[in-house]
Symmetry: C2
Subunit: 140 residues, 2 copies
Protein backbone atom coordinates (compact mmCIF):
# COMPACT_ATOMS: atom_id res chain seq x y z
CA UNK A 1 0.00 0.00 0.00
CA UNK A 2 2.84 2.40 0.78
CA UNK A 3 4.48 1.78 -2.61
CA UNK A 4 1.20 2.38 -4.39
CA UNK A 5 0.54 5.51 -2.39
CA UNK A 6 3.90 6.75 -3.63
CA UNK A 7 3.00 5.86 -7.22
CA UNK A 8 -0.20 7.83 -6.91
CA UNK A 9 1.63 10.75 -5.34
CA UNK A 10 4.07 10.80 -8.25
CA UNK A 11 1.24 12.01 -10.46
CA UNK A 12 1.02 15.26 -8.52
CA UNK A 13 3.38 18.20 -8.21
CA UNK A 14 4.78 19.12 -4.74
CA UNK A 15 2.89 22.42 -4.61
CA UNK A 16 -0.35 20.53 -5.36
CA UNK A 17 0.37 18.05 -2.58
CA UNK A 18 0.78 20.90 -0.08
CA UNK A 19 -2.55 22.38 -1.17
CA UNK A 20 -4.30 19.00 -0.96
CA UNK A 21 -3.15 18.40 2.60
CA UNK A 22 -4.12 21.91 3.67
CA UNK A 23 -7.52 21.36 2.04
CA UNK A 24 -8.02 18.09 3.90
CA UNK A 25 -7.22 19.68 7.26
CA UNK A 26 -9.27 22.79 6.56
CA UNK A 27 -12.30 20.78 5.53
CA UNK A 28 -12.00 18.67 8.68
CA UNK A 29 -11.86 21.84 10.77
CA UNK A 30 -15.13 23.06 9.23
CA UNK A 31 -16.74 19.80 10.24
CA UNK A 32 -15.28 19.98 13.74
CA UNK A 33 -16.71 23.49 13.99
CA UNK A 34 -20.16 22.27 12.95
CA UNK A 35 -20.10 19.52 15.55
CA UNK A 36 -19.13 22.06 18.20
CA UNK A 37 -22.06 24.31 17.25
CA UNK A 38 -24.39 21.30 17.54
CA UNK A 39 -23.02 20.40 20.97
CA UNK A 40 -23.24 23.99 22.21
CA UNK A 41 -26.75 24.70 20.89
CA UNK A 42 -29.43 22.62 19.15
CA UNK A 43 -28.27 19.09 18.45
CA UNK A 44 -29.06 17.82 14.95
CA UNK A 45 -28.23 14.13 14.83
CA UNK A 46 -27.94 13.84 11.03
CA UNK A 47 -25.73 16.91 10.70
CA UNK A 48 -23.38 15.65 13.40
CA UNK A 49 -23.23 12.15 11.90
CA UNK A 50 -22.47 13.54 8.42
CA UNK A 51 -19.77 15.84 9.79
CA UNK A 52 -18.17 13.03 11.79
CA UNK A 53 -18.24 10.78 8.71
CA UNK A 54 -16.45 13.44 6.66
CA UNK A 55 -13.73 13.79 9.29
CA UNK A 56 -13.26 10.02 9.54
CA UNK A 57 -13.22 9.47 5.76
CA UNK A 58 -10.63 12.23 5.30
CA UNK A 59 -8.56 10.76 8.16
CA UNK A 60 -8.74 7.35 6.46
CA UNK A 61 -7.79 8.62 3.01
CA UNK A 62 -4.03 8.24 3.34
CA UNK A 63 -2.94 11.83 3.87
CA UNK A 64 0.57 10.55 4.71
CA UNK A 65 1.12 10.35 0.94
CA UNK A 66 0.83 14.15 0.85
CA UNK A 67 4.00 14.61 2.91
CA UNK A 68 6.66 13.52 0.43
CA UNK A 69 10.14 14.99 -0.10
CA UNK A 70 9.90 18.33 -1.86
CA UNK A 71 6.94 19.44 0.25
CA UNK A 72 8.93 20.50 3.35
CA UNK A 73 9.18 24.13 2.29
CA UNK A 74 7.22 26.91 0.58
CA UNK A 75 6.92 26.57 -3.19
CA UNK A 76 6.37 29.98 -4.78
CA UNK A 77 2.99 31.32 -3.69
CA UNK A 78 2.18 28.09 -1.86
CA UNK A 79 3.24 28.43 1.76
CA UNK A 80 3.44 25.44 4.06
CA UNK A 81 3.21 25.46 7.85
CA UNK A 82 4.68 22.02 8.37
CA UNK A 83 7.73 21.95 10.66
CA UNK A 84 10.94 20.26 9.44
CA UNK A 85 10.62 17.98 12.50
CA UNK A 86 7.65 16.30 10.80
CA UNK A 87 9.97 14.72 8.24
CA UNK A 88 12.65 13.84 10.79
CA UNK A 89 10.35 11.81 13.09
CA UNK A 90 8.32 9.50 10.86
CA UNK A 91 7.64 6.97 13.62
CA UNK A 92 6.29 9.58 16.00
CA UNK A 93 4.18 11.17 13.24
CA UNK A 94 2.79 7.79 12.29
CA UNK A 95 1.85 7.11 15.91
CA UNK A 96 0.08 10.47 16.26
CA UNK A 97 -1.66 9.95 12.91
CA UNK A 98 -2.82 6.45 13.85
CA UNK A 99 -4.10 7.68 17.19
CA UNK A 100 -5.96 10.48 15.42
CA UNK A 101 -7.47 8.05 12.90
CA UNK A 102 -8.69 5.78 15.65
CA UNK A 103 -10.30 8.68 17.52
CA UNK A 104 -11.90 10.00 14.32
CA UNK A 105 -13.38 6.58 13.52
CA UNK A 106 -14.64 6.28 17.08
CA UNK A 107 -16.36 9.69 16.79
CA UNK A 108 -18.01 8.64 13.53
CA UNK A 109 -19.27 5.45 15.17
CA UNK A 110 -20.63 7.18 18.27
CA UNK A 111 -22.25 9.92 16.16
CA UNK A 112 -24.50 7.32 14.47
CA UNK A 113 -26.23 6.69 17.78
CA UNK A 114 -26.95 10.33 18.39
CA UNK A 115 -26.18 10.56 22.09
CA UNK A 116 -24.82 14.10 22.55
CA UNK A 117 -22.89 13.23 25.71
CA UNK A 118 -21.05 10.34 24.08
CA UNK A 119 -20.42 12.50 21.00
CA UNK A 120 -19.09 15.30 23.20
CA UNK A 121 -16.58 12.95 24.80
CA UNK A 122 -15.44 11.43 21.48
CA UNK A 123 -15.27 14.92 19.96
CA UNK A 124 -12.97 16.05 22.77
CA UNK A 125 -10.64 13.12 22.08
CA UNK A 126 -10.44 14.02 18.38
CA UNK A 127 -9.68 17.63 19.22
CA UNK A 128 -6.84 16.50 21.50
CA UNK A 129 -5.43 14.34 18.69
CA UNK A 130 -5.46 17.29 16.25
CA UNK A 131 -3.72 19.43 18.83
CA UNK A 132 -1.13 16.78 19.72
CA UNK A 133 0.13 16.84 16.15
CA UNK A 134 -0.03 20.62 15.77
CA UNK A 135 1.90 21.23 19.00
CA UNK A 136 4.85 19.30 17.65
CA UNK A 137 4.68 19.55 13.89
CA UNK A 138 2.75 22.61 12.75
CA UNK A 139 4.28 26.08 12.80
CA UNK A 140 2.12 29.07 13.72
CA UNK B 1 -32.18 20.64 8.84
CA UNK B 2 -31.88 23.69 6.61
CA UNK B 3 -32.50 26.05 9.52
CA UNK B 4 -29.87 24.29 11.60
CA UNK B 5 -27.38 24.32 8.74
CA UNK B 6 -27.90 28.06 8.65
CA UNK B 7 -27.33 28.31 12.38
CA UNK B 8 -24.08 26.44 12.03
CA UNK B 9 -23.01 28.59 9.08
CA UNK B 10 -23.66 31.70 11.14
CA UNK B 11 -20.65 30.79 13.26
CA UNK B 12 -18.32 31.27 10.34
CA UNK B 13 -17.26 34.36 8.40
CA UNK B 14 -18.00 34.58 4.65
CA UNK B 15 -14.33 34.41 3.66
CA UNK B 16 -13.96 31.26 5.76
CA UNK B 17 -16.99 29.69 4.07
CA UNK B 18 -15.41 30.29 0.64
CA UNK B 19 -12.20 28.65 1.78
CA UNK B 20 -14.05 25.68 3.27
CA UNK B 21 -15.93 24.97 0.05
CA UNK B 22 -12.79 25.30 -2.06
CA UNK B 23 -11.05 22.93 0.37
CA UNK B 24 -13.84 20.37 0.06
CA UNK B 25 -13.72 20.44 -3.74
CA UNK B 26 -9.94 20.39 -3.86
CA UNK B 27 -9.72 17.44 -1.49
CA UNK B 28 -12.29 15.56 -3.58
CA UNK B 29 -10.23 16.25 -6.70
CA UNK B 30 -7.14 14.70 -5.08
CA UNK B 31 -9.16 11.59 -4.38
CA UNK B 32 -10.57 11.53 -7.92
CA UNK B 33 -6.98 11.76 -9.18
CA UNK B 34 -5.89 8.84 -7.03
CA UNK B 35 -8.74 6.68 -8.31
CA UNK B 36 -7.76 7.56 -11.87
CA UNK B 37 -4.15 6.52 -11.25
CA UNK B 38 -5.42 3.21 -9.85
CA UNK B 39 -7.65 2.62 -12.87
CA UNK B 40 -4.85 3.50 -15.31
CA UNK B 41 -2.11 1.45 -13.63
CA UNK B 42 -2.00 -0.97 -10.70
CA UNK B 43 -5.35 -1.27 -8.98
CA UNK B 44 -5.22 -1.13 -5.18
CA UNK B 45 -8.63 -2.01 -3.82
CA UNK B 46 -8.18 -0.45 -0.37
CA UNK B 47 -6.79 2.81 -1.73
CA UNK B 48 -9.67 3.17 -4.18
CA UNK B 49 -12.28 2.35 -1.52
CA UNK B 50 -10.79 4.88 0.89
CA UNK B 51 -10.65 7.57 -1.80
CA UNK B 52 -14.24 6.90 -2.86
CA UNK B 53 -15.38 7.04 0.77
CA UNK B 54 -13.71 10.42 1.21
CA UNK B 55 -15.47 11.80 -1.89
CA UNK B 56 -18.85 10.45 -0.77
CA UNK B 57 -18.48 11.69 2.82
CA UNK B 58 -17.53 15.17 1.62
CA UNK B 59 -20.45 15.12 -0.82
CA UNK B 60 -22.78 14.14 2.03
CA UNK B 61 -21.49 16.80 4.44
CA UNK B 62 -23.89 19.56 3.45
CA UNK B 63 -21.66 21.83 1.38
CA UNK B 64 -24.77 23.79 0.36
CA UNK B 65 -24.43 25.61 3.69
CA UNK B 66 -21.15 27.04 2.38
CA UNK B 67 -22.93 29.05 -0.32
CA UNK B 68 -24.70 31.69 1.73
CA UNK B 69 -25.27 35.37 0.89
CA UNK B 70 -22.04 37.30 1.25
CA UNK B 71 -19.99 34.56 -0.43
CA UNK B 72 -20.86 35.45 -4.06
CA UNK B 73 -17.81 37.64 -4.55
CA UNK B 74 -14.13 37.90 -3.65
CA UNK B 75 -13.42 38.96 -0.08
CA UNK B 76 -10.00 40.62 0.17
CA UNK B 77 -7.33 38.03 -0.57
CA UNK B 78 -9.92 35.25 -0.81
CA UNK B 79 -11.00 34.88 -4.44
CA UNK B 80 -14.05 32.84 -5.38
CA UNK B 81 -14.73 31.24 -8.75
CA UNK B 82 -18.44 30.74 -8.21
CA UNK B 83 -20.63 32.33 -10.91
CA UNK B 84 -23.47 34.67 -9.87
CA UNK B 85 -25.81 32.25 -11.68
CA UNK B 86 -25.21 29.73 -8.86
CA UNK B 87 -27.20 31.94 -6.46
CA UNK B 88 -29.90 32.75 -9.00
CA UNK B 89 -30.84 29.14 -9.79
CA UNK B 90 -31.14 27.34 -6.45
CA UNK B 91 -33.43 24.61 -7.82
CA UNK B 92 -31.11 23.72 -10.67
CA UNK B 93 -28.08 23.77 -8.35
CA UNK B 94 -29.90 21.52 -5.90
CA UNK B 95 -30.72 19.07 -8.67
CA UNK B 96 -27.12 18.94 -9.88
CA UNK B 97 -25.87 18.59 -6.32
CA UNK B 98 -28.31 15.76 -5.56
CA UNK B 99 -27.33 13.96 -8.75
CA UNK B 100 -23.67 14.34 -7.80
CA UNK B 101 -24.31 13.02 -4.29
CA UNK B 102 -26.10 9.99 -5.63
CA UNK B 103 -23.26 9.21 -8.06
CA UNK B 104 -20.65 9.71 -5.35
CA UNK B 105 -22.46 7.34 -3.00
CA UNK B 106 -22.80 4.80 -5.82
CA UNK B 107 -19.04 5.00 -6.47
CA UNK B 108 -18.31 4.44 -2.78
CA UNK B 109 -20.59 1.40 -2.76
CA UNK B 110 -19.12 -0.13 -5.91
CA UNK B 111 -15.56 0.54 -4.71
CA UNK B 112 -16.10 -1.78 -1.71
CA UNK B 113 -16.42 -4.73 -4.06
CA UNK B 114 -13.17 -3.98 -5.82
CA UNK B 115 -14.20 -4.67 -9.43
CA UNK B 116 -12.15 -2.17 -11.48
CA UNK B 117 -14.59 -2.21 -14.42
CA UNK B 118 -17.57 -1.33 -12.25
CA UNK B 119 -15.49 1.29 -10.45
CA UNK B 120 -14.39 2.75 -13.78
CA UNK B 121 -18.01 3.17 -14.87
CA UNK B 122 -19.13 4.72 -11.56
CA UNK B 123 -16.05 6.95 -11.55
CA UNK B 124 -16.98 8.23 -15.01
CA UNK B 125 -20.45 9.12 -13.76
CA UNK B 126 -19.03 11.10 -10.84
CA UNK B 127 -16.66 12.96 -13.16
CA UNK B 128 -19.61 13.92 -15.38
CA UNK B 129 -21.51 15.21 -12.35
CA UNK B 130 -18.57 17.39 -11.26
CA UNK B 131 -18.30 18.76 -14.80
CA UNK B 132 -22.05 19.37 -15.14
CA UNK B 133 -21.90 21.81 -12.25
CA UNK B 134 -18.66 23.47 -13.31
CA UNK B 135 -19.90 24.05 -16.86
CA UNK B 136 -22.77 26.13 -15.55
CA UNK B 137 -21.65 27.53 -12.23
CA UNK B 138 -17.88 27.73 -11.96
CA UNK B 139 -15.88 30.48 -13.65
CA UNK B 140 -12.48 29.66 -15.16
Amino acid sequence: ALALATTAAAQFKPDELIQYRQAGYLFMSWNMGKIKVNLDRDYNEAQVADAANAIAAIANSGMGALFVPGTEHDIGEVKTHVKPAFFENPDDVRELAMDFNQKANELAKVAQNGDPNAVGAAFGEVGKACKACHDKYRAD
